[in-house]
Amino acid sequence: MLDYKHPEPPQQDKRWKMVRAEMRRHGYSPHALIQVLHAVQSAFGYLDNESLRYVAQALRVPLSRVYGVATFYHYFTLKPLGEHLCVVCTGTACYIKGVPQLLTAMKDEFGIGLEETTANRKLSVTSARCVGACGLAPVVVVDNEAHGNLTPDDLVSRLKEVTEK
């Protein structure tokens, strides 16, 4: 059998230790792909090509499959997010109750749409299929705090408050 050496992490960064620990816990099994990607995502906040490549090599999973998994699940992001996160619910109830208007207001005020980040890395906007609070539609989750029955003005002032703090 060929001698197999686990590849070295792409950078000298302490956070890779956490990722390696996760890999070791699963015995570098290809099945651990999602858990390991979770570890990378929570350690670095996003998955760049370099880390995807490293995970693929270490777990011996084809690159294309790693990319497929990383883009399939909403939890993973391939671009670094901003300091503050605004998750807009795009479920049916929220959509009918005015999510498009909220998005237009954000576009006008901050110049970003869904899945985008402001140039100063202060704010990111992402979407969720349904946050399970349809009674409060339209719902937006700002830094893990849910806000319901939002009007475009409410949302913009809330986001300004958060980003200018």
């Binding site: 090509n49 995807l52 490549r53 084809p62 690159l63 294309s64 499959r65 790693v66 990319y67 497929g68 883009t71 399939f72």
Partner: protein, 241 residues
């Protein structure tokens, strides 16, 4: 050593009584007996995938529809291949496939050699009742021999399967989900820069539409040659045994 006797099941497909080995799928049995069931994502030699839903059939006594390519036969099964409900669903599926990407046969390099087009004709699709989504997809011409055009892709997954199952390179995979789904090479990098692609052209030849094509061929020459596939599968199986 005594060989396990093969259990024989008898069933009715489209009013015809047929015998089958247990473990066979409805589609296998139908093909052995020369009964045509429309398929799109299925390709002999690759694992059945059940994604296109064109091969859906009715089973008597059951209200659900079953994909023939992955449903195993059982004793006394009564399979209905043609019914107004099935014909309607199949047409709707083809129409939705056509409207999902800008499928316009008259300007397509695979015009006349396209399985989606053929299927539409066989099922009597004369018009598409849904508005075309007309999403813009880039064409990847970075590979020096082949071209990848997402605008013609129906996400049947044949390229993905042939690349991982037969070639073993696993260059292709699906990325994204739902309407955002696309096939990608490696980390969504240009095909020509892919490190895993061996340039074997199997994906090009199993592609049912003009999504993967050979460069430098005209519309009339764009026939796909996939005779290799059943041979490769059989030879590999013999090698393994």
């Amino acid at each position: 050593m005594d060989e396990q006797p093969i259990a024989i099941k008898t069933l009715t497909i489209d009013g015809k009584e047929v015998g089958a080995r247990s473990g066979d799928t409805i589609l296998q049995v139908a093909q052995e007996h020369g009964i045509w069931i429309p398929t799109l994502c299925f390709l002999d030699g690759l694992t059945a995938y059940g994604s296109c839903r064109i091969c859906m059939v009715e089973l008597e006594g059951n209200n659900r529809l079953f994909p023939a390519c992955v449903t195993k036969v059982y004793e006394g099964m009564v399979v209905i291949i043609h019914s107004p409900r099935l014909e309607h669903y199949r047409r709707v599926i083809v129409e939705m496939l056509l409207s999902e990407r800008p499928h316009i046969c008259s300007v397509c390099v695979s015009n006349g050699h396209c399985e989606l087009q053929t299927m539409a004709q066989l099922l009597g699709v004369t018009s598409v009742r849904y508005p075309y989504l007309m999403r813009k997809h880039d064409v990847d011409a970075s590979n020096h021999r082949f071209l990848h055009d997402d605008n013609r892709c129906i996400l049947c997954g044949r390229c993905v399967r042939v690349c991982s199952e037969i070639e073993g390179a696993h260059t292709w995979a699906f990325s994204g989900r739902g309407v955002e789904s696309r096939i990608v090479t490696d980390l969504d990098q240009p095909w020509g820069e892919s490190e895993s692609c061996t340039g074997c052209s199997k994906c090009v030849h199993v592609c049912p539409t003009g999504a993967l094509i050979e460069k430098g061929r005209s519309v009339a020459e764009m026939a796909k040659r996939r005779q290799f596939l059943p041979y490769l599968t059989v030879m590999r199986k013999e090698d393994a045994e």
